[in-house]
Amino acid sequence: MNARSEGPLVSIEGLGKTFPTSAGDVQALSDVTFNIERGSLIGLVGESGSGKTTLGRCLLRLVEPTAGRVVFDGTDITALDQRGLKAMRKRMQIIFQDPFSSLNPRMRIRQIVGEALVAHGIGRNRRERDDIVAGLLEEVGLSADHMGRFPHEFSGGQRQRIGIARALAVEPEFIIADESVSALDVSVQAQILNLLQDLRDRRGLTILFIAHDLSVVEYLCDEMVVLYLGRVAETGPSDDVYRLPGHPYTRALLSAIPTIDPEGRQARQILAGDIPSPLSPPSGCVFRTRCPHAIDACAEKVPEPHSISSRHHAACLRLGEI
């Protein structure tokens, strides 16, 4: 781990992203602010259109943000040139959702995992790189014998392990896992969740886990950030958010999760309607059009985050009243 710095590993400050389209500007992210502490496993939760994937890509500048800053270990990465960015990308990696389309079908596993080593000049020759690749495959629960195979010879869970090995190859400090278990069957999903936890513990990695499934995030992550229509609705320690959700959206999201435990089942609160179009988000609080507690004032001003406890915040005007 990097010992020289203090403070959060990643600070996201007022991040915004607007995509111009022929139908007008799509406001994918607005004024997103939160910190990612070193060595934490933080979950980013939201439904379709919440902006969670865009946010993950903005952090790596795979998508250029249109407002705000991302500060990684003291460096404003939104201000970096291409060269600076390449050096920085060695320290941050991403694992994608679909283990089928994110691995080149014509490449052997040796090449897929080893490519990043070559790109970043790690390992002096092929033998050294092969040794590193073998070690990585074993670390993610595969075997060194798998090096000569092609992606189609592996199951979905194994491919996701390959994606993780590839991300680890450059020894990053920070990994973004974008819906990395969503395409997997639940029994295999559990294998990957356990692996991510092990990697965090063993390597001291910081992981941003992006998911639509709140129960997976609650299980895996120490902290969570709930996004709705491009804005942060709530942030806090997972346990606190789960037990005492402050934002009406988080409450609705929690109560919508189908549960196998009849005692854990909350009084079902079903949200009416759909997520509004990001082409014309509602004024004020973006959730107010579906919120059972909305009042006129909610339309006037974008709510600031209010504290529930020192680390638990919710952006709701009526927090405490409802």
Binding site: E47, D185, N194, Y219, P262, I275
Partner: protein
């Protein structure tokens, strides 16, 4: 003679005996194979289950378990080279008569699909025609199957959109599918499925593509409609949480066989088969426990992967991944009682 009467006169030499009076569907020892030139995928083997009138049976399983092929076999919609090679599918027609769908003619199946048994799928966008308004698509369904004119069919289409709680139904009827959100499209699909008052609705992962808040709306709608219309539902899903929300009874499938069947509460309270146990233990939601240090208990993942359908183990299909396996598990095992209304395909757990 009306069209609906015709549907039942082209009958059905097949013998439907064996269906109890309160049952709508009984699948008995069904096997469906996909036969290719040099190999055969045994996608479903010896699957049996029964569905009572007005109840919901969930078939739950992971990828490759055969749950969707089970529903396609019932509907007679298997694509080449898929074939039902053994077993019976007994269905009670709305006339009261029982038939075996595996012996029914294509013509009969066309009459049964949509009118008697209808189906909704995971992805409503690909099941709707993008070039036709949703109203036209629902109305077409009605005048194809029922003796009515187009004006009445349109009127009924509006009523159906109201039934599935689409706001402003009389306006939305002229919308095209792409004007609608995923949740609204799934409501339209449900409206189409209900157009001819089917007695059996097969829902194949109907909420899987939807966000969780929208999924909650759709499940709520389906529960309400089932109560009002006295329909039976065969609900296919991979999600145990959804099973808990919607099902009365559950069949758990693994690698083409039903490994366990039970009423829903019993399945969650006393799972018998090692696969069911493993599946439940791997769900994050069920794992609230903490160890002494306050750390969360690790998920118990099922090691390994599902066996290939071309190369199945001779005995229990779960044997390759099972923590309790013994030599005897290499012998074939059948689904047998392990408690009240509870069947399991594990000889060892049944004794325990």
């Amino acid at each position: 003679m009306s069209r609906s009467d015709e549907a039942t006169t082209d009958r059905i030499s097949a013998n439907g005996q064996g269906l109890a009076p309160d049952e709508v569907l009984a699948v008995e020892r069904l096997s469906t194979h996909f036969v290719y030139k040099n190999r055969t995928a045994k996608v479903i083997r010896d699957v049996s289950f029964r569905l009572k009138k007005g109840r919901t049976l969930a078939i739950v399983g992971e990828s490759g378990s055969g749950k969707s092929v089970t529903s396609l076999s019932i509907m007679g919609l298997l694509s080449e080279p898929g074939r039902v090679v053994d077993g019976r599918i007994l269905y009670r027609l709305s006339s009261g008569e029982a038939v075996d769908l595996t012996g029914a003619s294509k013509r009969t199946m066309r009459r049964i699909r949509g009118r008697e048994i209808s189906m909704i799928f995971q992805e409503p966008m690909s099941s709707l025609n993008p070039l036709q308004t949703v109203g036209d698509q629902i109305a077409e369904m009605i005048w194809l199957h029922m003796a009515t004119n187009r004006a009445n069919a349109r009127k009924r289409a509006v009523d159906l959109l109201r039934l599935v709680e689409i706001p402003g139904a009389e306006r939305r009827i002229d919308d095209y599918p792409h004007h609608m959100s995923g949740g609204m499209r799934q409501r339209v699909m449900i409206a189409m499925a209900l157009a001819c008052d089917p007695s059996l609705l097969i829902a194949d992962e109907p909420t899987t593509a939807l966000d969780v808040t929208i999924q909650a709306q759709i499940l709520d709608l389906m529960r309400r409609l089932q109560g009002e219309l006295d329909m039976s539902i065969l609900f296919i899903t991979h999600d145990m949480g959804v099973v808990a929300e919607i099902a009365d009874d559950v069949a758990v499938m693994y690698a083409g066989v039903a490994v366990e069947q039970a009423p829903v509460r019993r399945l969650f309270d006393a799972p018998n088969h090692p696969y069911t146990r493993g599946l439940l233990a791997s769900i994050p939601e069920a794992n609230r426990e903490r160890d002494d240090k306050g750390q969360r208990v690790r998920l118990t993942a099922i090691p390994g992967t599902v066996p290939s359908l071309y190369d199945l183990p001779p005995g229990c299909p779960f044997e390759t991944r099972c923590a309790w396996r013994e030599e005897a598990c290499l012998e074939p095992v059948s689904l047998e009682p392990c408690g009240p209304d509870h069947l399991s395909r594990c000889w060892k757990m049944r004794q325990a």
